[in-house]
Amino acid sequence: MAITKAAPPESGAETNAAKTTPPEHGSGRRLNSQLVLTLVLVLMVLGQGPIRGALAAPVMQSWMTVFVAVMVQALPFLVLGVLLSAAIAVFVPASFFARALPRKPALAVPVAGVAGVVLPGCECASVPVAGALVRRGVTPAAALAFLLSAPAINPIVLTATAVAFPGDPEMVLARLVASLLVACAMGWLWLRLGRAEWLRPPAREAYDGQGRGAAFWGSVRHDVMHAGGFLVVGAMAAATLKAVVPEEWLRLAADHPVVSVLALAVLAVLLSICSEADAFVAASLTQFSLTARLTFLVVGPMIDLKLFAMQAGTFGRGFALRFAPVTFVLAIAVSVLTGAVLL
């Protein structure tokens, strides 16, 4: 961000995005971001015809549809999470969480994990809320347990699971138990091994000293722009995989018990399906064992491409790079164990 040299007028959006600090605000030659935005929009409108032509191939259309669908589906939940996060940051005093959660972090972890029940919605909502909890002084271990459990164990998701697996009601219990176990285990693991410097949330201005309205809307704006940008990255990755990777590959994996569990775990990460809908997709993967499908349901809401991008944006890349693989491995292990006991 420390670029001070004036940009040549023809430089693209990429380089100008960084140059928003306005010490040289008055210099007429510099493109500011409004101008870039207007130029991009005008160019796209003028170039509509050729752009549409280039996107007419079936694979591109399918990519665009899935990309837009993931965004349109996730944005309302992101907005819900962002509003909650802003409300936590502005209207809930930090002392509330100190009273609501057990003093001992080791006990706060399971309490926060179970508290995930109250956040209705999918994983896009839980990332900004967990970020707000950390900033509000909640011990990171507890906030992380909440982050992992909320998308998997809320009533909407469990009901959807029950509807999708009418013949196997134990699937709902297995999903609840396995997801809670992973969430708590990750929280406790963070208590033992986690280091504060891994959590490096991007700089944001302090809201103290502003009016409540300004602070609330400032937080909403910041979170939508920030998490939204990372959501786009995740949606693009998910659309690419959905449009390009053929599903036949799955068939080859289904016959082998170990490979099938790993295959569905990887699939859950790649597809990045909303946790309210993943049970239906799991139900249609009939060639796989119930344990493999449980793995799909436990891994998906905790770590997928979209979530990884959003976690990296909210908590910092160093955190996401460590947190995501451990979550992935632990979620698989716990799912297999739970499957062995309950299914």
Binding site: T20, Q61, V79
Partner: protein, 239 residues
């Protein structure tokens, strides 16, 4: 990206959601039940844009040159322009035959079979027909004239299917239900055109080459092109 540009992106994003939610555009991408949330999110985003402009204007009036200590948002925020353009300018169509042939049939055993009207031609939902044909041995379908609607998909060998995409949340989880066409198939079939097929039950089955799922057939006696339905996806499994 500075505050004004952020406000513009928030406003455009909000109005794109409102536009999609107020027309039938959103049905190409998400389930019908998501509409209230879409509209609410659109309103919140537009409000956030208005609030950004208002507080920026006020801060500037109180303290000229206040921008100097503002944290700019990261470059990744610029990516939000992409879904905006995709939704406003391109508005990609609902998933069609390309996705249908790459994905295995999602047909599942129905929980039960509702009673059908006793006489006249039967107008059945394609998913309903497929479920009865594949899992009920066509018991309720024998000897009846049946009409089903779906879009055409042709596999690599040119074999025709009539398809509905079933959806639970958004197009990313959409899965096809396929019915094979046999009998008097129209000589020219274009993929992705919507047809109302008139025909009778046949016991013929095939296995989906993608996931081994069951594909029932229908013995076609006639077919007529119809406009695409308002909601291109089948959402019967959502209830």
């Amino acid at each position: 990206m500075n505050r004004q540009a952020q406000a513009a992106v928030l406003f455009l994003l909000g109005s794109a959601l409102l536009h999609a939610g107020l027309t039938d555009l959103y049905l190409r991408y998400v389930k019908a039940g998501l509409r209230p949330m879409l509209l609410a999110a659109g309103v919140v985003l537009v409000a956030a844009a208005a609030a950004t402009v208002w507080y920026e204007w006020r801060a500037r009036r109180q303290e000229p040159g206040h921008e100097a200590h503002v944290h700019p948002e990261p470059r990744v925020s610029w990516l939000l322009v992409l879904p905006l353009l995709a939704l406003i300018l391109v508005a990609p169509p609902a998933l069609g035959s390309y996705s249908a042939l790459r994905t295995g049939t999602a047909l599942q055993q129905p929980y039960g079979y509702a009673a059908l009207p006793a006489d006249g031609p039967l107008r059945l939902n394609l998913v309903d027909y497929a479920g009865r044909a594949a899992y009920d041995h066509g018991r309720s379908l024998r000897g009846r004239q049946i009409k089903v609607t779906g879009f055409v998909a042709l596999d690599g060998k040119g074999k025709p299917y009539l398809v509905r995409m079933a959806l639970n949340c958004c197009a990313a989880d959409a899965q096809p239900v396929k019915v094979g066409l046999t009998g008097r198939i129209p000589p020219v079939l274009r993929p992705d055109t919507w047809l109302e097929v008139t025909g009778t039950y046949t016991a013929r089955r095939a296995k989906d080459p993608v996931n081994g799922g069951p594909i029932p057939f229908i013995e076609v006696s006639g077919a007529a092109p119809v406009p695409a339905p308002k909601d291109p996806y089948d959402e019967t499994w959502n209830n």
